[in-house]
Amino acid sequence: MTTLRPGTRTAGTSTAGTRARTRTSRPLRALPSTLVLWLLALGFLIPVAWFLLSSFKPGSELFSLPLTLFPENWTVSGYTTAWNRFNFAQYFLNTSIVAVVTTVLTVLVSAMTGYALAKYQAWWLKLFFICILATTMLPTEVIMPSSFAVVRDLGLYNTLAGIIVPSIITATGIFMFRQYFKTIPDELLEAARIDGVSEFGAFWRIMLPLAKPIAVVLAIFSFQWRWNDYIWPLIVLRDPDRYTLQVALRSIVGADNVDWSVLLSASVISLVPMLVLFAIFQRQIMNADVNSGLKD
C-alpha cells in the first residue's frame, strides 16, 4: 500500500483525484480495523481488569450490589490475609526453586542435545530426534498413572526434585537449539578442530555463547511452563508444605466455600513474577521466532 503511493503521486495531474481519495480514505479505512481490534482487545482485557480491581476491594464490598468497577475503599487486606494464612511465602519459595532449577537444567540439556543432533550424523541420533519429537504428541498427562509410579519408584515422591527431574527435557527446547545450531556454518567447527580444540571445548566456548539468544528465549519459556505447571506438582506432591503456587491456588478454588477475597489476591500475587519477567524480556518474547519451536 505505502510503496504504491509515491508512484501515483508522481504520475502527474491526471492522478490528482486518486491522490485526494487515498488521502481522505486512509483514516476512513483505518476505522473498521481499529474498531474491531480494540473491541477484541477490550474483550481480552476486561476479565483481567475486573479480577485485578476486585482484588483491592474489602471482602464486604465484593458481593455488595450495585457492583462497582473500582473499589470504593481500596485495601490490601486480602493480600495480607492470603500471604499470612496460606503459608504463601513457602509456596512462593517452592515454585521459585522448581522454576529456576528446572530452567537452568533445561537450557543446558537442550543446548547439548540440540547441538549433538545438529552437528553430528548417525542413525541413532536421527532415531533419538524422532523419539524427542514424539514426546510432543504424547505428553505426560496421557500416561499420568504410570508416570506417578515411576516417580514413586525412583524415590522422588513428595519432593521438589520429583517435579524438576521429569520436566528437564522438552522437545521444544531441543528443537529450537537444533534448528539454531544448524544455521551456524560447519566451517567454524572444522576450524576449531584443526586448531586442536576438543569437541566439548568447541561446544562450550564457541557454540554455546553463539546460541545465547536461543538460550534466553528458552529460559523464558521454560520459566513460564514451570511456574504455571499444575499436573506434575499435583501428582507428585502430597505435603501442603511442599505445594507450588498452582496446586495451592487450586486447593483454595476447589474448596466448598470459596474465600474469594483471599483467592483473588493470592492469584494476583502468583502472577507477579511472570509480569516482571515479561516487563524485562518483552522484546525477546514478542520477537522470538517461535515458528522454529513447538509448544510444550
Partner: protein
Amino acid sequence: MSTTKSVEGRSAETSALITVGRGARRARRPRRSSTRFVLAPLVFITVAVVLFALFFLWPGALGLWYSFTDYSGVGTPEFIGAENYIDLAQDPVFYTVLGRTLLYTVLSVPLHYVAALGIAMLLTSTFAKGKSVARIIFFLPWLISPIVAGVIWKWLFGENFGLVNYLIEMLGGNGLQWETNPNLALVLILIVSTWGGTAFNMLLFIAAIRNIPQSYLEAAQLDGANGWQRFRRIVLPLLRPTSFMVILLTTIGAMKEFAMVQALNGGGPGTSNMFIVQYIYRTGFERADVGYASAASMVLMAILIIIAIIQLRFDKRNDLA
C-alpha cells in the same frame, strides 16, 4: 553397520580436508576423529536419553503393562488380560467423557484458529491503530497460568455473583446458568481456552505473516485483487505450514485440557464436562484403580497418535529433518 559407514565417511572427508590444509603432519587424525565423532555426540545426548527413557519410555511401557492388570497403586499388579479394555468398552461414563472431550476439541480448534489468525491479521494490517499496545493486551493471557485463568473467569461468570450476570440482569434479562447448565458451562470453557490459547498461536501467525514477501501482495493488488482475495489466494496458502502446526498443537492441547477446567468449574456441573484427562486422574488417583486408568490412558494415547498421523499426512510439506 550403517553407523560405522557414515562415521567413517565423515572422518575420511574431514581428514581429506585436513591433509589438504595442513599436510601430512596431521596424518594420524582420522583414527582419533572417528572415535570423537561417536563419543562426543553420545556424551552430549546422554542426559537427554536417560531422562527420555526414565520419564517417557518407562511410564509408557509401565502404563501398557498396568492396563492389563488390576493394579491399585499398592501391592503387586496381577495380570487380568484385556479385562480393563472390555470394561472400558462397556463403560457408559467413559463414552460420555470421550464424547465430551471430542466435542470440546472439535469446537475449540476452529475457534482457536480463527481467533489467533484474525488477531494476527489485525495486528499486522497497515490500517489499524494502536497495534503495539493491543499486542501486549492479547499476549497477557500467556503469562497467566491455567489455574489463575480459571479463577479469573469463574469470578467474572459466577452465576450468583459474577459481573456478567449482574450486567445481564441490569439490562433486564435473566442471569444465565454458567455453572448449572452443562452446555453453557462448556461454552464458558471454550471462551476461556480461546482467551488463553490465542497469545502463543498469534505470535506464530504474526511471525509467518511478516515473512510473506510484500511484493506478492502488491502485485496482486495491481492485478485488481481485493483484500479478501489477497487473503484467500496469497496469505492463507503461504501460512499453510504455520496453520498446520497451530491446528495440530491446538488439537492435542484440547484433548488433554485439564488444569483450567479444574479451576473454572471442576468439570461441572456434576461430571457433565469431565474430560478424559480428568477421568484418568479420578480413576487412577482418587479411586486408585490404576489398571483401569492406564487402559483409558492407552486409548487416549492411541487417539492422539491417530490424530497426529492424519494431520502429518495432510501436511505434505512438513519437514522434520
